[in-house]
């Protein structure tokens, strides 16, 4: 089996993601704004209660926030837009007419779309919130460097797994879209789940003690939370290996179950007509 169709699907969505340059700038401004507001909120909370031993230091909470903001578009907020359009117009039948493995075909496209959106934003925001902020004397509010070289390397591995995991969750939204023939459900379910459970709203390490193990064990933690913890060098229960292990586990589980769900969905489309 040739890889070319999948690389092609990847290349196409990567290009489409990059095409919206104004959206990148607009998104950057919005994320800087939200980041700055969040940082000020943390600063006042941390200064109001200096005796409390928080699981993250103020500096770490700030860095967590900056990375989280810069990776916002990496979250699985809903289905791949192209699949949403195809479901609405009925052009989705053409996807069944291509000589390709539909899971890999849609997965490559979904991954490319996430990366095409996230990579330019992440690089830009990291430059602004990191070196640039330090240069203009806002070092205390800036994105701090990694805990160590090893943390940085492991964080890179972890973020790669996170991107793949996110694309795999997008696949579930894609299948939902193909079943309901509308992209709306996937956004209604996907956006709140992803924003809340990824730690975008509040870093997962800052939740109450009793709920933290559950939050770490759910799949959305593997997208950005685990990579950020590795970057910061904050302890993960069971160590870095557990963090990476959780990512691999969810990747495998969601791929396996997702492929079954997809086969069942394609069968249903084939039985009932698209």
């Amino acid at each position: 089996m040739s890889l070319r169709p999948y690389l092609t699907a990847f290349g196409l969505q990567w290009k489409i993601g990059l095409r919206y340059r104004i959206a990148v700038v607009a998104g950057l401004v919005a994320q800087m704004w939200f980041g700055a507001v969040t940082l000020m909120a943390y600063a006042s909370v941390y200064h109001a209660a200096p005796d409390v031993q928080a699981p993250l230091s103020l500096r770490q909470a700030m860095t967590y926030t900056w990375i989280q903001q810069s990776l916002f578009t990496l979250l699985p907020l809903g289905c791949l837009p192209a699949i949403g359009d195809a479901a609405r117009t009925g052009a989705i039948v053409y996807d069944l007419l291509r000589p390709v493995d539909m899971w890999n075909w849609w997965l490559s496209a979904s991954l490319a779309r996430l990366l095409g959106n996230a990579v330019p934003r992440a690089v830009l925001l990291a430059c602004v919130a990191g070196p640039l902020a330090m240069l203009v004397g806002l070092g205390a509010w800036s994105l701090a460097g990694p805990a160590s070289l090893i943390s940085a390397t492991l964080a890179l591995v972890s973020i790669a797994l996170g991107a793949l995991l996110s694309a795999t969750i997008v696949m579930w939204w894609n299948i939902l879209t193909a079943r309901t023939l509308s992209p709306l459900g996937s956004y209604a379910v996907g956006t709140p789940l992803a924003v809340l459970l990824s730690g975008m709203l509040l870093p997962l390490p800052l939740y109450p003690d009793w709920i933290r193990p559950f939050l770490l064990a759910q799949p959305f933690a593997g997208i950005t939370d685990i990579p950020i913890r590795i970057y910061l060098g904050t302890p993960i229960p069971g160590g870095v290996a557990t963090g990476l292990g959780l990512q691999v586990f969810w990747l495998a589980a969601l791929t396996l179950l997702g492929r079954l769900w997809m086969r069942q969905t394609v069968n249903r489309l084939e039985v009932q007509g698209a």
């Binding site: 169709p5 117009t89 069944l96 000589p99």
Partner: protein
């Protein structure tokens, strides 16, 4: 891998049935009911033939087309397309067919026609030289030169349909399935599409299965027409045979410069309309040949002009559907 002996027919269908289960009352507690879309149809299409597939809305045409394309599974029956069973060998099957759904688009709205074709080259694994050859040939035959670099969303419907047809043929499929390819097109675009399909079949031996509601498509293209209604095949013959068996009558119109006279007509002819200055006579040429009828009325006093016409293809098919309660 051993290649199976190629069958003489490009498409064989035998006793194909498809029932849909629908829920009544809309709620999930509602009763289910089976709707028969295809009630045991059989036909075969030899290689290189253009077969027209017609029938009123809801007759089962689309269901049959989807099954042959490999995107719908029948309830029972056998189908072989290029020697493959479409729904069990989906990937191998779809690599060898081209499909155009006239009401949907397979090209990418955000991309130019050229970029879309290049993507399809990669999806179907078409070698670069073959791709260049096919692209040049299709661009020439479908007059795509001027629109290759335009994005698909900017194309007119006629331009887009020509680009869609090129997209369905970039991998040299043996079989082309066209589902209402001329819907919404203006007259020149319709003629261009018809001419192209005709040449494709003649020059490359591509087998074409065509569904349409435009009977002129059928008249211009199809050597053979399969009429489907209520999930069954009502007729399967050359179009001329359908005309002879359904509505062989002719119409004779007579214009007078004064009130038309009363006249007695030979057997097989009857007056069907009378106006202040004209008469319409309908006749069956098997009972009274046209020259004899013309001789009969030719010396009527006050006759200015006369015309003989055949019923239009739309009238024939409407009558056919009515006769079969389709």
């Amino acid at each position: 891998m051993q290649t199976p002996p190629s069958p003489p027919d490009a498409i064989t269908v035998s006793n194909l049935r498809k029932t849909y289960r629908i829920r009544e009352g809309g709620s999930w507690r509602g009763k289910t009911r089976d709707i028969v879309a295809l009630d045991g149809i059989s036909f075969s299409v030899p290689k290189g033939q253009i077969a027209g597939f017609i029938g009123p809305n809801g007759a089962g045409k689309s269901t049959a087309i989807k099954i042959l394309s490999g995107i719908l599974r029948p309830t029972s029956g056998e189908v072989q397309v290029n020697g493959l069973v479409p729904w069990t060998n989906r990937i191998a099957h779809v690599a060898r067919i081209g499909v155009v759904f006239g009401q949907r688009t397979q090209l990418w709205w955000d991309l130019s026609v050229a970029e879309g074709l290049a993507l399809l080259r990669d999806i179907y694994g078409v070698e670069p030289e073959r791709f260049a050859r096919n692209r040049a040939r299709l661009a020439d035959a479908l007059d795509l030169g001027g629109i290759m670099d335009q994005s698909v969303r900017q194309l007119s419907l006629g331009q887009r349909m020509r680009a869609e047809i090129a997209a369905s043929l970039i991998h040299d499929p043996d079989i082309l399935i066209l589902d209402e390819p001329t819907i919404g097109l203006d007259a020149p675009s319709k003629l261009a599409v018809r001419a192209f399909v005709h040449e494709l079949c003649r020059d490359r031996g591509t087998t074409v299965l065509l569904t349409t509601h435009d009977m002129h498509d059928i008249e211009a293209l199809a050597e053979r027409v399969i009429v489907i209604g209520h999930g069954r095949i009502l007729a399967d013959s050359p179009f001329e045979d359908l005309r002879t068996t359904t509505l062989s009558e002719r119409i004779l119109e007579l214009d007078f410069h004064d009130t038309p006279p009363e006249l007695t007509l030979p057997a097989g002819a009857s007056e069907t309309a009378r106006e202040p200055r004209s008469l319409t006579i309908t006749f069956d040429p098997r009972q009274i040949p046209a020259p004899a009828l013309v001789a009969h009325v030719g010396h009527l006093p006050g006759l200015d002009d006369l015309r003989i016409s055949r019923p239009s293809i739309d009238e024939i098919i409407t009558r056919f559907y009515a006769d079969h309660a389709a």
